[in-house]
């Protein structure tokens, strides 16, 4: 059939005669001959039954768009979902830069041929370090949950201990990932995860419970600031002090967008800091925008425990010129296989470039302004929702961009409310009702800089209507 003799635009040697030319050079009579290593009975018996080829770009584009247009996006709807992926503004320049084919391509070259990209990576680490007030930042791992997992394992190796304390009110998604990194307990090297009580009045960690559980077998205390349910951990410094006194590492998770107004974790005693990369200029991508960072002080004991890529500045053969390369790289799994620190591989490094661009667009004033704006908008949302009969804010004015809304007083379930909001173009907060937190019919709302006052009024008005 005619289609089969056309060269394919994605295959350089599919032009007529090229394979034949190469076979002639090789001295092979047929394509089959070059597969001579494979025993005949290994070849598949079943027909390869794939959907028909979309042979032209027109068909391919149309197929993709016709499917994607079945989605309803957070651009066309008003979204209040957060909890691990947040709808923040992505500056256009970020999209431009990470979309450049020089970056968005399969490249992996040398320190010299990849210099521009390596510099962008170093600038990511440098700027994030400036936000965190820490000197070592690794290129991002797969996700925040994975970053917490690696941090826990670092702490276990650093201390030789095998328990980690985490808040009871921890995101079940991240907790599940942490479980995967630490357990099951049947196998060697497992780390036991123990939950710390949270105050139901403030959401913060119960210090008494912390003191009770901080034994000599505890490798690390992990907490987030702001926490899963939105609230800040005002006792952060005290928690870190207690952990240090018990010989445990303090691992903190932070929202980098809060750091224009919130104290840097390096300044209240955090030893290992983790957090999400997605807020730093990456679209939500249906969850495919996540990445996680890990940072510490520049002490060799920490540096020697990193699992992934640390980009260091270095000199070149040209005096006065700088370049970049991977520091301490023998310790990763590429260098040491099963003896390496955990494992690494392709990760989410494109988001490091996004983050570098994002942070340099904002600068110190931008981060401060952004932090203040988010805070003001979230607090306004709380206020507007609290005015609705039957609706209650769990811990008013205690957090940053997320907060828990209780709907018990309305007589409706979150599922019902969200379905009605959805019909009106609003994606309500994440339904917490099934998470066993003890807050009844409640939802985690997220408000960011993209929400205008009008949007918040629309939410409140629609909610009133829906609850009638």
């Amino acid at each position: 059939m005619a289609a089969s003799v056309r060269a394919h635009p994605w295959m350089g040697s599919s032009a007529p005669g090229v394979i034949e030319d190469m076979l002639r050079e090789i001295g092979a009579a047929s394509v089959a001959e070059v597969f001579e290593q494979i025993p005949q009975d290994h070849f598949r018996k079943s027909l390869l039954n794939l959907p028909p080829q979309l042979g032209s770009e027109i068909e391919l584009k149309r197929d993709l768009l016709s499917k994607l247009k079945k989605n309803k996006s957070c651009e066309d709807n008003l979204n209040f979902l957060g909890a691990g992926v947040w709808q923040h503004h992505v500056p256009a320049i970020v999209d431009e830069i990470i979309g450049r084919t020089e970056f968005a391509t399969n490249v992996w070259g040398s320190y010299q041929s990849d210099h521009g990209r390596n510099q962008a990576w170093f600038e990511f680490a440098s700027q994030l370090g400036a936000l965190l007030n820490l000197d070592v930042v690794q290129l991002p791992v797969y996700s925040w949950g994975c970053a917490i997992g690696h941090a826990a394992r670092m702490a276990a190796r650093l201390t030789g201990r095998r328990k980690i304390l985490v808040p009871q009110f921890m995101d079940p998604e991240r907790l599940s990932v942490l479980h995967s990194y630490c357990q099951p307990l049947e196998l060697a090297g497992a780390i036991e995860i123990i939950c710390l009580a949270n105050s139901t009045h403030t959401g913060q960690i119960d210090l008494a419970d912390l003191i009770a559980k901080l034994g000599p077998d505890v490798a690390a205390v992990y907490f987030e600031n702001p926490a899963y349910l939105g609230n800040f951990e005002a006792n952060a410094a005290e928690i870190a002090r207690l952990a240090r006194a018990a010989g445990a590492e303090t691992i903190v998770g932070v929202d980098p967008l809060s750091l224009g107004i919130v104290k840097a974790p390096g300044d209240y005693g955090a030893d290992i800091v983790t957090g999400p990369v997605q807020p730093l200029g990456v679209h939500m991508n249906c969850g495919g925008g996540v990445g996680g960072f890990i940072a510490t002080r520049d002490e060799e004991r920490y540096v020697r425990e990193y699992n992934g890529f640390l980009v260091s500045i270095a000199e070149t053969l040209t005096p006065g010129q700088f370049g970049f390369g991977l520091a301490s790289s023998h310790q990763n799994s590429y260098g040491s296989r099963e003896h390496g620190k955990d494992w690494t591989g392709n990760s989410t490094y494109l988001w490091a470039i996004a983050g570098a661009v994002y942070m340099s667009l904002l600068g110190p004033e931008g981060f401060a302004e952004l932090g203040r704006l988010i805070l003001a908008r979230a607090r306004l949302a709380e206020k507007l929702l609290a005015e609705i009969e039957g609706v209650e804010i769990l811990w008013p004015a205690s957090g940053f961009k997320e907060f828990v809304v209780r709907f018990d007083g309305t007589g409706q379930t979150v599922a019902e409310i969200n379905a009605r909001l959805r019909a009106k173009g609003i994606f309500g907060g994440k339904d917490l009702s099934g998470e066993g937190l003890g807050f009844g019919q409640s939802a985690l709302f997220c408000v960011t800089e993209i929400h205008t006052t009008t949007d918040l009024l629309r939410l409140a008005d629609t909610l009133k209507e829906v609850l009638k």
Partner: protein, 500 residues
Amino acid sequence: WDEPLVMELGRPGARGQLFTLPDPESGVDTALPEALLRSDRPALPELTEFEVQRHYLHLSQMTLGMMGVSLFGTCTMKYNSKTSEFATLRPELAELHPYQHPETLQGVLEIMHDLDAILRALSGMDQFIFQAGGGADAAYTMAAVARAYWQDRGMLHQRTEMVTSIQAHPCNPATAASAGFTVINLPLEENGYPSLEALKAAVSERTALIMINNPDDMGIYNPEIREWVRVAKEAGALCFYDHANFNGVMGKLSARELGFDACMFMLHKTFGAPKAGGGPAVGAYGCSAELAPYLPAPIIAKSGETYVLDEDRPKSCGKIREFWGNVPQVVKAYAWARGMGAEGINLASDISVVANNYMDKKLGEISGLARSNPEISLRRMEMTRWSLQPLYEETGVDTFAVANRMADYGIDPYWMSHEPWLVPQPFTPEAGELWSKEDIDLWIAVLAKVVEEARETPELVKTAPHNQPIAQVKGEVFDDPSRWAMTWRAYQRKRAAAKA
């Protein structure tokens, strides 16, 4: 460009991005707890929007990335379709939240479901998931699924070993070890792969699973793989096929028909999604119906005409990573598979193997190079490991220098070898199906030219590159705690200390 660091650019007060100033009359309290108030100003640069753009455009131009010819072995350089790239930038994908109600996500779920079906057809497996953030993460998924499988049977305390080949990708032993398994590495033997006898000696009632690549990075296909799987399964072990090197066999082999319980595909390499200098990537992990209950949730399923997320998986091993995976890359892989079709996929593996054999022929004519496992005369698969050891012995020019020098001619540096280096001074070209014969010929000609230079002007090669954004990076600081610097603040501090 002689581009400074962004930290050195700009001026106080310059702004690249403004945010609305909150209305002071809104009457809301925006105070923070005193203990959490930031009092210092983060030491970030201050630039205009244009200056940020210009700086990063310069950096992009200082990155060779696929602007030349890259035959980077084990990674299967492909054309990354801009059609699918642009589709994934659409708000219909970019602005989706994974917690949206599935009724608002039918399009993306349909695509993922369709790709699942395509991968099932290619592998014979019964269910795929895309949660793993890369090939290594898919290997980790295998380890986690194996843990759940053995835990469900109450045998996890006994099944604590993972058997693999010393030539398997490092991620296999590393992820298994991280998951808590003891790793047993089988050495290669004269045929270029571990013997069946060694495998038999290694597997036992302690074996939880085996993890293998085939063909390996040398381009050698283990013809006993069926027997391997049989032996391992007789011992009760699970068998995982790491399809990192799928390009040479795609359309030709079915992992399930060979007896494997699970396998993984790298969507960011084999399936044409860009790997973007190290992710976002996707390790698509697929397994048999027997293992499916242990998969990380959610599973994308079809219920009538509706796509749903099945989160109710009581035997699940738990999450490997938050959410469902790097969705844009999944869409790109789907687009690649649809754009290629069965016929195109088969043709691509034909071309890959033919082109590598063409390279083998041409490289064999250059003196100073040696093919790995010279005793194996059979034609290699889609890549071949080569060695520059003869050249190194003759001239003192090593494989790093040759790679650096080739970049001066517009050739992206090659992949050398994973650890351990079983072959001295290795390099591993992979032609794949993307590159034209002209590009391959150019690559070979440049290598031949550099080999000639190594003999005539070895210092020129050793001090390469000479035609790249920067000169050769001096690596001694990378393992020196007093000098390494992973951030600008660390660098400034250490530089100040060194001056003092």
